[in-house]
């Protein structure tokens, strides 16, 4: 059986790995946007690139500090932090997409990295949360940078919902199988302990 402190430790480890992966993704994405800005592929203003770098660095250092302090409540187990980090990731990606061509941005696919990585870690609830925030954020992007073909944009949003629900379903199935395996392991351990007790010096067998 998973205890609350075990759950908190798992959550802390998962969020810590998200911080590491965020450093890698951010470095690659910002190197790409800088290169594309220099070659003229995107028209993202330099102040926006610098501001995004500063915001992401500050947020990531902040998340690291929260995790180091171990903001773990006996029941909550950092549950709130996963939504804050994911929401901030999606907001930053939306700013990047908005300033690098809107619906035609080459960074649109970064949304899927956030979706899949979080859905696999946290399951259906997180997949629906990511799809909801993406839906609202992408509508905001389309309001700022209007697209020529709204039907195609609607289909893109629906496709994202499809991927989110499918990823959430697969993650839920995987989590269920993991729980079943864990129950089997516990049963085997308890049976071995009982068998060991019977075969011991005071046992009847």
């Amino acid at each position: 059986m998973v205890t609350w402190s075990q759950g908190a430790e798992d959550e802390q480890r998962t969020e810590q790995s998200k911080v590491t992966i965020r450093w890698i993704v951010v470095t690659v994405a910002l190197a790409a946007v800088t290169y594309m800005r220099r070659t003229g592929t995107v028209d993202t203003p330099w102040p926006v690139i610098v501001a995004l770098t500063a915001v992401i660095t500050t947020l990531n250092l902040g998340f690291s500090a929260v995790l180091r302090r171990g903001a773990v409540s006996p029941r909550g187990a950092l549950r709130w932090l996963r939504y804050v980090t994911t929401g901030s990731d999606l907001a930053i990606i939306s700013v990047l997409v908005g300033y690098s061509g809107g619906s035609a941005s080459p960074f649109y696919y970064v949304y899927f990295i956030v979706l899949v990585s979080n859905a696999v870690r946290y399951g259906m609830a997180m997949a629906v949360f990511v799809a909801l925030v993406y839906n609202v954020a992408y509508v905001a992007v389309l309001m700022v940078r209007p697209a020529t073909d709204l039907t195609a944009e609607g289909a893109k949003i629906l496709a994202f919902w499809g991927v989110a629900l499918y990823a959430g379903y697969l993650a839920a199935r995987f989590q269920r199988q993991t729980r079943i395996l864990q129950a089997y392991e516990e049963t085997i351990l308890s049976l071995r302990a009982r068998l060991g007790g019977r075969e011991g010096p005071g046992g009847s067998a």
Partner: protein
């Protein structure tokens, strides 16, 4: 028995609502004049899923 019949009627209306939601999804995608209309997607997608889940669970006699 009576409550079972009542539930089947509820499920029937749920399926009608799900079909209406699907038609609304198609219409919003096809005829959207403003991106703001895409904000209806979460309600429509989750609504369709919830109503279909209700129908499937009822058919499997979960409730």
């Amino acid at each position: 028995m009576h409550s079972r019949r009542l539930r089947s009627r509820t499920v029937g209306w749920g399926l009608v609502a799900a079909a209406v939601f699907v038609i609304a999804l198609v219409l919003v995608t096809w005829k959207a004049t403003s991106p703001l209309l895409f904000l209806l997607y979460p309600v429509l997608v989750l609504g369709v899923l919830a109503l279909l889940a209700m129908a499937v669970l009822w058919a499997l006699k979960h409730f």
